[in-house]
């Protein structure tokens, strides 16, 4: 996966140890890393006639969701003032690396692409849940 290079905690303890800001940053980085590849993927599969129609719409839906999720997390972090200035800068710089990453992504096969996306979305979900229970422990945690 093109995001394999990112250092992400791959266990509960590691995820809990990381400070919240870093975790948030990580989430945003991940989401950002998938923005481009997803749009490319959507364009790519539109030419596949053998796929059923709802797959195409689902893929579009997923891209939209990722984008919305990213926006949402950004908003939340802004409000909570997690993101420090340097983090923001970090984000900006990662934009550049993101491009190269997405190039890599374009070379993946479709099944690998989907596999990687599945894994990364699971990561994002887990991190977000941990964040949630850390920030607001009373909500079903």
């Amino acid at each position: 996966c093109h995001t394999s290079g990112m250092l992400t905690p791959n266990g509960k303890e590691y995820a809990q140890k990381i400070p919240r800001e870093e975790l948030t940053h990580l989430i945003l980085k991940l989401l950002q890393a998938w923005k481009e590849p997803l749009s490319h993927f959507n364009q790519h599969i539109e030419h596949h006639q053998e796929l059923p129609d709802d797959s195409l719409s689902k893929a579009k839906q997923i891209s939209n969701m990722v984008h919305e999720l990213k926006t949402g997390v950004e908003k939340v972090t802004e409000k909570a003032r997690f993101l420090m200035y340097n983090s923001l800068n970090g984000m900006a710089s990662s934009e550049g690396t993101g491009l190269s990453i997405s190039n890599e992504a374009n070379m993946m096969s479709d099944s690998d692409f989907i596999h990687c996306f599945r894994r990364d979305s699971n990561k994002v979900q887990s991190y977000l849940k941990i964040l949630k229970c850390r920030i607001m422990p009373e909500n079903s945690c």
């Binding site: 394999s4 992400t8 791959n10 266990g11 509960k12 303890e13 995820a15 809990q16 894994r119 699971n122 990561k123 979900q125 887990s126 849940k129 941990i130 964040l131 949630k132 229970c133 850390r134 422990p137 079903s140 945690c141």
Partner: protein, 827 residues
């Protein structure tokens, strides 16, 4: 020569045949029955082989007959056993009979039938071969056994389980030719001993029913007897699971060990790494397992896991198994399941079920999110009802039946990428019956009371059945004329009737008189303006209001002449009068009889009298014996005195006093006549009139239908004409032109009902019919006169009839006889 002839004949025959063959059409060839077979003695099938079809489409039909019967049947089922077959099912199979079967081939040209086949079902029984033969070698104490297992042949009709098969088993080494056959008996397994190690064997089984033939041999099975020295077989990895998304375990299944103790090792490597690790923990999770603890578990990486089996002879490696721990989470079942019974607002109990997530799952940190699902069913029920609960750890169940026992189970799964846990252990719920003592008590009381009531009712019915009936369905009352004997009426003895009606018993006795006295209306002097004889209508008399009462009629005033006549006679002949009266009454159309009595009894002539002595000479004065006053129920305020004729002439103290102003009832008052009798009559009449009026009033003391007691208006008699029609002209006292309208209860001052208006100036008044027994005065000559009945201008009006019922618009429950109905004789 002969031979030549024969040979040429043969040639010709062959030529003919070939010609026929060349054209390709001939009758079909003879079919042959190949085989008949029964699988289990209850059904059987027969197959045939067709002959040549002669070039045309050929139909095959199978005919059979039983034993020596003549009747021929056709095959019941051509399909079940395939083409060119016939299947006889249970209903068509009789094992004790012999079937004679022939097959006939038919085409357009002709037909051909096979030779008959004699089939005895019991002799053609042959089951199918056994199935599912499985072989296994077991080694113990250096001896290797072969375990063989199989199943009986399957039958289409599964219900017939009663078949007992005997089995045979045969085996031989692969390379050899000779079979070793073993008779197994009725079991479906067998242990074979004495096998050579390292040799590959072939095994088969067959079966037979109690009668018939052996089945075919089953398909072959091969088995290798372990030689005792061989590397182990390849193990297989069964599954890997993580109970809480932090650790995971893998299990494998070893293959055969090849005769030597075998070691298993698990090796794994992670995605992206080359290094191969060995299982960190073989023990924790039990035999043939490997437990990865937290340190060795990484998420979002794929593990490549293999198991190696090693023994002295060699080793064998299983296939690799790829695992990403995030997707193999299967939690433990939830714990701490508690039930609580709560009562909702309307006293219906509901169940609150709460539970906790499994202890290992870390839900608090959000690392693992679980979703729950519970299922319940009544204890005796069969189907579970599954309810998805989501992430909450409690559930309220409302729709449970009281008094029943339920079984509840819960399980959970991670919200994404995982599998469901096992169901929690069964939990039994007993719903308490919603049994309120109060309800039961109420029902008991109700039951007891109703049974008591039933008892009482039945008892009273039994004892006093008749009276009850009388109470419930009161008999229709008969006429209530006092002194009248209904039987007399029925028999039509008019004379007696009249007598009854008339003088003798009729006039009421003292009480009547009292009534009369009480209620007698006497007109005031003012009202005496009426000049009976000479006055012109010009005097402010309104003549009688013209209008008539709709239901008028009856009470017509008697013509004075008549009256007088009658009067004169009446004394002597009260009966006659009565007769006349009656007649008059009768002739009065539809005299509502209510007044009959009074009317008839008292020859009421419309007598109006005023205080002055009016001289309606012709008017027969109503005789007014004191006690013969018509009994009208008076409730008027008029103090009834005697009916005094207003006229001073009258000896008899006029009972009829001019009515008080207060009453102001329009009361036609006639001058009394000279006669006492007349006067009396008049008075009576008037009185009766009054009384009638009064009566009317009286009667409805509460609500005189048309009369306000206080507002009795009396119509003064303006004039009495004695000419052709005895009429009494009424002076309408107050209301010009307004007649008595009776229908205005309480409001009008009308007193009596006008039954008809005759000649525009004759008012026939109708009394209120309610006057029941006011016994008219026994005055024979009492005629009922409504207050002023103006004679209907008919001779026949010899009376004023109190027009009863139809007058009153209201109810008039007529308890009065209708003399007219039985008066025909008087006509």
């Amino acid at each position: 020569m002969k031979q030549g002839f024969i040979s040429s004949f043969q040639i010709i025959l062959q030529l003919a045949l070939t010609t026929a063959g060349l054209t390709g059409q001939s009758y079909p060839g003879k079919p042959t029955i190949v085989r008949c077979r029964s699988l289990e003695k209850e059904t059987f099938s027969c197959w045939w082989k067709p002959g040549s079809d002669g070039g045309l489409p050929t139909n095959y039909t199978l005919f059979y007959s039983k034993d020596s019967e003549e009747k021929i049947y056709e095959c019941p089922d051509y399909q079940a056993s395939g083409p060119n077959s016939c299947y006889f099912d249970k209903n068509h199979t009789n094992p004790w009979r012999t079937y004679i079967i022939t097959v006939m081939a038919t085409n357009e040209i002709g037909s051909n039938s096979s030779d008959p086949q004699y089939v005895d079902v019991t002799s053609i029984v042959q089951p199918d071969a056994p199935v599912n033969l499985s072989l296994e070698t077991k080694t113990s104490a250096n001896i290797t056994y072969l375990w063989a297992k199989w199943s009986p042949p399957p039958l289409a009709d599964v219900s017939s389980n009663s078949h007992v098969y005997h089995y045979d088993l045969r085996l031989k080494p692969e390379e050899k030719e000779e079979w070793e056959t073993i008779s197994v008996g009725v079991q479906t397994h067998y242990k074979v001993t004495g096998l050579h190690a390292g040799v590959k064997y072939v095994v088969q089984v067959r079966c037979i029913l109690d009668i018939g033939e052996w089945s075919e041999w089953s398909s072959e099975r091969h088995i290798q007897i372990p030689s005792g020295e061989s590397p182990p077989e390849k193990p297989t990895i069964i599954k890997c699971r993580s109970p809480e998304k932090e650790t995971f375990t893998c299990w494998w299944k070893p293959g055969s060990d090849g005769g030597h103790p075998t070691n298993h090792t698990l090796l794994y490597s992670k995605e992206g790494e080359e290094k191969v690790y060995e299982c960190p923990d073989y023990k924790t999770a039990g035999p043939n397992s490997c437990y990865f603890d937290k340190k060795h578990t990484s998420f979002w990486t794929i593990y490549n896991i293999t198991v190696r089996a090693t023994n002295e002879m060699g080793s064998n490696v299983s296939d690799p198994h790829y695992v990403d721990v995030t997707y193999i989470v299967q939690p433990d079942p939830p714990v701490n399941i508690t039930l609580e019974l709560k009562k909702s607002v309307n006293r219906k109990p509901y169940l609150v079920l709460t539970w906790s997530p499994p202890p290992l799952a870390d839900v608090r940190s959000g690392w693992l999110t679980l979703e729950y699902e519970l299922r319940l069913k009544p204890e005796e029920g069969e189907e579970w009802e599954t309810i998805f609960v989501g992430q909450q750890t409690q559930c309220k169940m409302f729709s449970l039946n009281p008094g029943k026992r339920y079984i509840v189970q819960i399980h959970c799964k991670p919200d994404h990428h995982g599998s469901w846990s096992e169901w929690s252990p069964e939990m039994y719920i007993q719903i308490p019956t919603d049994f309120r003592v109060k309800d039961m008590v109420v029902w008991i009381i109700v039951g007891v009371l109703s049974s008591l009531i039933c008892l009482i009712m039945s008892w009273t019915m039994i004892l006093k059945g008749y009276r009850m009936m009388a109470f419930i369905l009161p008999p229709v009352p008969g006429p209530k004329i006092k002194g009248i004997d209904t039987h007399l009426l029925e028999t039509g003895k008019s004379e007696e009737l009249l007598s009854a009606l008339g003088c003798h018993g009729f006039p009421p006795t003292s009480d009547c008189e009292e009534l009369l006295i009480e209620y007698l209306e006497v007109e005031d002097s003012e009202d005496q303006q009426l000049m009976p004889s000479h006055d012109t209508p010009s005097k402010n008399k309104k003549m009688i209001p013209k209008e008539t009462d709709s239901d008028s009629g009856r009470g017509s005033c008697d013509s004075p002449s008549l009256l007088s006549e009658k009067c004169r006679e009446s004394r002597a002949h009260p009966l006659a009068l009565q007769t006349q009266d009656v007649r008059a009454v009768q002739e009065n159309t539809g005299a509502k009889r209510s007044w009959e009595t009074q009317c008839i009894a008292s020859e009421q002539k419309a007598l109006l009298f005023n205080s002055e002595s009016a001289k309606s000479s012709t008017w027969p004065a109503a005789q007014l014996p004191n006690n013969h006053l018509p009994m009208f129920a008076y409730h008027s305020t008029v103090e009834a005195h005697n009916i005094v004729l207003s006229t001073t002439n009258v000896n008899v103290s006029p009972v009829l006093v001019g009515n008080e102003e207060k009453h102001q009832s329009q009361y036609p008052i006639t001058e009394t006549v000279h006669d006492n009798m007349e006067k009396q009559r008049e008075m009576e009449i008037s009185k009766t009139d009054q009384t009638t009026v009064q009566v009317k009033q009286n009667r409805h003391s509460d609500k005189p239908p048309f009369l306000n007691p206080k507002l009795m208006d009396y119509v003064e008699v303006h004039k009495v004409r004695q000419d052709e029609e005895p009429t009494v002209l009424l002076k309408h006292k107050e209301n010009t032109g307004k007649t008595e309208k009776y229908t205005v209860p309480g409001t009008s001052k009308e007193y009596t009902k006008v039954s008809t208006v005759v000649n525009h100036n004759i008012l026939v008044l109708m009394p209120d019919s309610r006057i029941q027994h006011t016994p008219v005065s026994q005055e024979p000559a009492m005629e009922t006169s409504h207050n002023l009945q103006q004679g209907q201008a008919e001779k026949n009006m010899s009376y004023c009839l109190t027009a009863p019922s139809n007058c009153k618009r209201e109810t008039s429950g007529s308890e009065y006889m209708d003399p007219s109905s039985f008066m025909p004789s008087f006509k």
